[in-house]
């Protein structure tokens, strides 16, 4: 009982902290927007964008990315019944392993760089940056919080300036989701060049595996979101989030996961493959080829390592925005909240909801990574081309058909509910029994002398 109370208090404290954090982000964005508008005559979105780059991309993304490195150690230890990183003590307390953040950074930065002989010099140096930069840039279009009037943040902003909206979003290009696909498709260069430029056969093997895997999964990644684009009739993430607040099927909001359960599963699997983590970790399989970064040491390795964790953060953010209702705090009605609290607190609570959903998704990804064993390479390609891709294409056709028959999304929502029920039933039925065919496969292997 004590433990339960403790957990509830902890979760409450975390949520309160997230709300406070997003309130601080709004204050920073609004403050800088006002300063730029007042003294430089720039439009308010200009200053807000600069503040958001610092707060969202440097603070939220980088800090949660590096905290994940510690979280992964602690969480994997918990799952394997170990204690986990606790050797560094600050004033006699391990602080949940958080000091390892500083220790890791210090170790990476001070380690000797040992470049291999025969490397392709420029590409070898460039590869870690090429792996990190696209992943980093992805966060720019994530709408972390709703637009609230500038006048609600800065008292002295009045008139047209006061009613200009400030949102926790760095940029909002018209082609929203295409930006995500375009930039994430560039990430493959970092890994494949790292493998090729290292002049190492194992690294090359890792690079080739990484690029073939990433190219394949990019296709299903792109197609899995077409259904949501059709349903919400937009490519902009913030408009998708707004559309998810509208009610469908009575009081239930039109969440992406309700309308597009298949799209969600395909996107999650494909994006997971793009992060190159277990069960999709063939490019870096530690027990066989070490990976495309085998010849990298020090901070160059650190950058590739960090890119992986930042990708988890970005992936969680995209799923939150597209499928889980973004900044809508699902537990209370958004409209009710907008009318009861001041605009600043409304924004802060919504931003806190977004961050909380992101944390849950990151936790889910860590759990999956430590639960499942590695796929074989042919299984990876089969999963992509024979299961995910046809499913994604079928999903597009069914979604488009349902929207053509009933543009109000009711039919689509019912199809979604039915799909969720069917998927749940199949999962429960298959559960622990061996999948059909698995038996034959093992027998075939035994005959072949494996």
């Amino acid at each position: 009982m004590n433990r339960l109370i403790g957990m509830v208090v902890l979760i409450g404290a975390v949520v309160a902290g997230l709300v406070g954090l997003s309130a601080a982000f709004y204050l920073a964005a609004g403050g800088l927007a006002w300063v730029f508008a007042e003294y430089l005559g720039a439009p308010p979105s200009f200053g807000a964008a600069i503040a958001n780059v610092v707060t969202l991309m440097l603070v939220v993304m980088m800090i949660s990315g590096s905290l994940l490195t510690v979280a992964e150690r602690k969480w994997s230890a918990m799952m394997q019944n170990r204690i986990g990183a606790n050797r560094i003590k600050v004033l006699g307390s391990a602080l949940g392993g958080i000091p390892f953040l500083a220790a890791d950074a210090l170790k990476m930065l001070t380690k000797e760089s040992a470049p291999p002989r025969g490397r392709t010099r420029v590409l070898y140096e460039m590869a870690p940056a090429l792996a990190f930069a696209p992943v980093f840039a992805l966060f720019a279009i994530i709408p972390l919080g709703p637009p609230i009037p500038l006048g609600a943040i800065v008292d002295s902003a009045a008139g047209a300036l006061g009613s200009a909206g400030v949102a926790l979003q760095v940029a909002s290009p018209d082609a929203g989701l295409l930006y995500i696909f375009a930039i994430s498709s560039l990430a493959v260069y970092g890994t494949s060049l790292a493998g090729w430029a290292s002049n190492n056969k194992l690294a090359l093997l890792g690079g080739v595996r990484a690029s073939s895997q990433m190219i394949s999964y990019e296709v299903s990644l792109g197609l899995s979101l077409v259904g949501t684009m059709l349903a919400y009739r937009t490519l902009r993430l913030e408009e998708m989030v707004t559309a998810q607040g509208l009610a469908v099927l009575g009081p239930v909001p039109a969440l992406g996961i309700l309308l597009q359960p298949v799209g969600f599963l395909i996107f999650f699997a494909s994006a997971f493959a793009e992060t190159k983590r277990a069960p999709f970790d063939l490019p870096e399989g530690e027990s066989e080829i070490v990976g495309y970064f085998v010849e990298y040491s020090g901070m160059k390795f650190g950058l590739m390592f960090l890119a992986e964790f930042v990708e988890i953060v970005v992936l969680s953010a995209i799923i939150t925005a597209v499928f889980l209702g973004g900044w809508h705090p699902i537990v209370v009605s958004t409209e009710w909240l907008r009318q009861t609290v001041t605009p600043l607190w409304f924004g802060a609570i919504c931003g806190g909801a977004f961050l909380a959903k992101m944390i849950v998704l990151m936790w889910l990804q860590l759990t999956i990574r430590w639960l499942l064993p590695r796929f074989r390479f042919d299984q990876i390609q089969k999963l992509c081309w024979k299961i995910l891709l046809p499913a994604a294409i079928a999903n597009i056709f069914i979604t488009a058909g349902a929207l053509l028959l009933d543009p109000s999304m009711q039919l689509l929502a019912w199809i979604g509910v039915a799909t969720i029920v069917i998927i749940g039933a199949i999962t429960a039925a298959v559960g622990r029994a061996p999948a059909p065919g698995e038996h034959d496969h093992a027998a075939a292997h035994a005959v072949a002398g494996h």
């Binding site: 082609a175 696909f181 494949s192 690029s211």
Partner: protein, 170 residues
């Protein structure tokens, strides 16, 4: 000429674009040439963004830099073409033809640019929805439906052809 933010951004994208495009031609190693081409596509996309054609810009990166060039790079890396340098002497005749072609292309472009009146450069009257996904999609699926479908047929033929060519080895 007044220096605007747009002009600064233009030069930020244009100069590296020219440098990397030259790099594609000059680089000895095919991998460097391919990477220069990727960078050139990227800077070109920047120019498209300045022209308010966001969709084209992202498509440029997605299709050319993200998909086509990755496959190019894949092939170059696995075949490790760097070791064999093409012999220079045999290509003399081709070089002269190439120079001639480049000069005439330059002349055509220069004359076309010279004919554009100055006023057209400064007044960029755009409709509100210019370059958005909706606008491009509407034009593509109404006015240019036939070319669009024919293109997709062409791609299908290419895919089938690739399978036929590769099938003997599978």
């Amino acid at each position: 000429m007044q220096i605007t933010a747009e002009l600064v951004c233009f030069w930020i994208f244009a100069i590296p674009l020219v440098v990397t495009a030259l790099g594609v031609v000059v680089a000895r190693s095919p991998v460097y040439a391919a990477m220069n081409l990727v960078a050139a596509f990227f800077f070109m996309a920047g120019l498209y963004v300045l022209l308010a054609a966001h969709l084209i810009a992202f498509m440029q990166i997605l299709v050319y830099a993200g998909a086509v060039m990755v496959l190019f790079l894949f092939v170059i890396m696995l075949l490790s073409l760097d070791e064999e340098h093409p012999q220079r002497e045999r290509r003399r005749a081709m070089q002269y033809v190439g120079v001639l072609g480049a000069v005439s292309l330059l002349a055509v472009l220069a004359s076309a640019i010279a004919r554009v009146p100055d006023a057209a450069m400064s007044t960029l009257a755009q409709p509100d929805r210019f370059g958005t996904v909706k606008a491009v999609g509407q034009v593509l699926y109404t006015e240019f439906l036939l070319p669009f479908e024919v293109t997709s047929l062409l791609l299908l033929v290419a895919i089938v052809g690739a399978v036929v060519v590769a099938k003997e080895r599978i």
